[in-house]
Symmetry: C2
Subunit: 240 residues, 2 copies
């Protein structure tokens, strides 16, 4: 019992804000900032609209809070990039983390995508400061890996964009993915396949893993060595 009063005071407040933010994330994701109405959000949160405006004075303030929450989650995932100096380990974990967020938290990604699509009217400052710094430091890390001969000399910035776009696609475009999957969401197995394929193509693409081309006929024997130790397979002649 460290904080008796000043925290009890906002017991109802905390719960209501949580409800509203959860509802807002879904509604903003599905309808965009303009398309979402405070009435819809209030309905989804199970409270009257006037009550929503008691906790969040304007629609914009609520939206901004939603976006900030998402950004925090992404920054946390980004740490995986820093905690390992081995490019295979770092990239594998980073890609996996971003894929997992796209599956567990798709609404957040959609809100972000919507915001960027419309020229970031409310989060431009994030882009210019936090995201810019984060990007530059990671580019430096990748450049070092390249200089050390630990991966192919690709353009680091393009690689980062590739990782972002590919992983977030599974959140932002999940409606399209579902539709192309007979209207059903991806099963856990399908999603795992997708994750492993993305990791495999990128790691192989930047020269960290080696390609596994079977000149014979076989179907797939999917790659699942995406963790600590990579078992390099022999690769057969391919050159012209």
């Amino acid at each position: 019992m460290p904080v008796p009063k000043p925290m009890i005071k906002s017991a109802a407040r905390a719960e209501n804000e949580r409800l509203i933010l959860a509802a807002a994330e879904i509604v903003f994701a599905d309808y965009g900032f303009k398309g979402a109405t405070t009435g819809m959000i209030a309905d989804k949160a199970g409270i009257p609209k006037a009550n929503l405006h008691y906790y969040f004075p304007t629609k914009l303030a609520l939206y901004r809070q939603v976006v900030e929450n998402i950004f925090q989650i992404w920054l946390a995932a980004a740490d995986t990039f820093d905690n390992y100096d081995d490019p295979e380990e770092a990239l594998t974990r980073y890609i996996s983390a971003k894929m997992d967020i796209s599956r567990s938290h798709p609404m957040g990604s959609k809100v972000w995508a919507n915001e960027i699509l419309h020229k970031a009217p409310v989060i431009q400052d994030y882009l210019e400061t936090t995201l810019c710094e984060w990007t530059n430091t990671r580019i430096a890390v990748i450049e070092r890996w390249i200089a050390e001969g630990r991966m192919a000399p690709i353009d680091p910035r393009s690689l980062l964009y590739m990782i972002w776009s590919t992983t977030q696609h599974y959140a932002d475009f999940n409606h399209q993915i579902h539709t192309l999957n007979h209207g059903e969401p991806l099963t856990d197995a399908q999603f795992t396949t997708a994750k492993e394929t993305v990791v495999s193509i990128i790691l192989t693409g930047v020269g960290i893993r080696k390609a596994d081309v079977q000149s014979g006929g076989g179907q797939s024997a999917n790659i699942d060595n995406m963790s600590q130790q990579t078992q390099f397979k022999k690769l057969n002649g391919e050159g012209a």
Copy 2:
């Protein structure tokens, strides 16, 4: 002079519809369906709002026309996939085409992205028919290439999603990319680097090209052999 009257009749009409559609594409891309107003579109087209409604009775009808135009452009690009049976050639051309569209026609991609993000309220039928068929036939092609040992046994669907997301990222997220590029659009050189990097990572990633890891120190010597003939470089030891 094959068609004298029945076409002259709509001379003004054709011109006005063109103006309106061009304005609508930009405004819908920047603000989404809900965020865009017919007044904004009319202003950008340089005509009164009532006149816009003379040519397009409802906002929805105008929007649908814009989306259909975009879809046609994409389908044309998709043909590049069919015209070559060599996976390197086909994938390189397809990726390049999609990258070029993202640069030359970013608004269209944004409108599409916005539509999918909001669960495709007006183009669901396209997803279920045309896009679904297109996807399945290309998956079959990729599976054949894999079976013939011409590329690594990756999941074809995940590969397609990867190509779509990566290439369209340069349109849908161009605001973010600009911001991370000191507020400037990518130069032609930067865009070319991006395109070559994407092609390189994906082709290497699926085992069509071989990685070029320089164990020494050098900076980059960027890959630019993205056309007909690939010059495979030696790749040095990497295994654990």
